[in-house]
């Protein structure tokens, strides 16, 4: 029997009729066609599937669908507002922080969660916040640079967070 799920996705209420054994990651990608969130290791080791669940960054591959009822999910698709990129996304593009791009959505989510809580984090704090996100292209320096650059851009009156 299917599970009827009511929850908020990227600020809009969503209803989905899903296979009850699915994880949140599978619901997002397969039932809601939100394929920005990536399917990596499936075991909680890589960070590619990170989303905000009730404002906390978590790994959607480890969340069972039953536990999403009534909660709020933000995926990488939810970072843009009215077609405008989030300053984090702009900085990633400007500074070449995305190579193959597979880890990028999860890293953007983890970085956004950090900046929402701590608007002016040190390099060490950024490293800690992103320590659960693997980049197989090993482009970590550019990623850290881009997060640091976005701090400045957000501080200059980027109107979104």
């Amino acid at each position: 029997m299917k599970l009827r799920l009511n929850f908020s996705v990227n600020g809009e209420s969503a209803e989905a009729l899903v296979d009850p054994d699915k994880t949140l990651l599978e619901v997002l990608r397969e039932d809601l066609q939100l394929t920005g969130t990536k399917h990596g290791c499936e075991l909680g080791e890589c960070g590619a599937c990170a989303v905000l669940l009730d404002d906390q960054p978590v790994l959607s591959c480890l969340v069972v669908s039953h536990e999403c009822e009534g909660r709020s999910v933000v995926t990488v698709e939810g970072l843009t507002v009215d077609g405008r990129l989030h300053p984090l996304q702009e900085c990633f593009a400007d500074l070449g922080a995305s190579q193959c791009g597979y880890c990028t959505p999860g890293i953007l989510i983890a970085a956004k969660a950090l900046l929402d809580r701590e608007p002016n984090p040190s390099r060490d704090l950024i490293r800690e916040a992103l320590s659960g996100n693997l980049c197989r292209c090993t482009g970590y320096q550019q990623i850290l640079d881009a997060v640091e650059a976005s701090i400045v851009r957000l501080g200059e009156g980027g109107d979104q967070k």
């Binding site: 978590v58 480890l62 536990e67 916040a129 320590s131 659960g132």
Partner: protein
Amino acid sequence: MMRLPSYRYRAPKTVQDAAAWLAESPGDTMLLAGGTDLIPNMKRRQQAPSTLVGLRGVTELAQVDDRDGLEIGAGVTLSALVHHDRVHARYPGLWQAVGQIATPLLRNMGTIGGNICLDTRCTYYDQSFEWRQAINFCMKKDGDTCWVATSSDKCLAVSSTDAAPALIALGATVRLVSATGTRDVALTDLYANDGMHYLTRRADEILTAVTLPRAEGWRSTYWKLRRRGSFDFPVAAVAAAARFDGDRIVEARIVLGAVASRPLEVLAAAARLAGQTLTDDLMASVADDAYTLAKPMDNTDFELVWRKKTVRSLVTSALRELRGDDMRAARTKLARHPLLVIS
């Protein structure tokens, strides 16, 4: 792609309901808290319960009471614990241990109860179903042989919890609740040195809380060896705590992690510390005891003889830190980055 096997999901609001539902079929029902250990295991078919009792709606499990000592609900997330002012200020060994569990993303999900009950790990067990099938499985799940030591009559999977050694060193007790009653046990007695039956918790019991006594006079520390500074299970670890009267130790506990199927107390050497000041010679003799007790097996990362050797230096570092030596440089060298709190 690894899909979860089919299961029935039930969401109690109270411990009482959870215990009643667990009692209906304890053999094939499992408790789901943060899911960071159980969900990967289910995807790999290491565990395949027919029913999951999800505990995230049981709000009484998510409380921290710091009025006298510290009572931590089993459902408190590792993130909540690492950001709890009193944990950092009074129980630094616990803070250091929890801060080094997994990653911020996983600590937002994983709970203290889950880390205490963390399944034991092994190279031959933490693999996909097909991988395990190709070696005709192992003793811990679906097979007969322990591939770590083929003549062994017991499973040698390694205890990989960071929190438990730190909690045991601080004198923790845990509460176990079932439909028929409640019992409090010393955390050290929750464990057995057997990779399959590593918990003395009965299948119908729920671990609801862990309690620490007051920390006045105590110093504590946790040292962890892992492959990657960012994110790995321990391959050797030591928790140490001691109550001091001036420079003199009144009582002490030393607990090793990841070198047996349970957190391993270094009892005789810790007892020798009572009444003593921490001299270099005394620390060396305690480290020798710990080295002798540690029995790392070839079932996780790093070469096992070297892993055993590291126990001596980890214990020495821990005791030096308790003595008041400035160990920040050594700690950073081991961890390769500073231990941080994101407020």
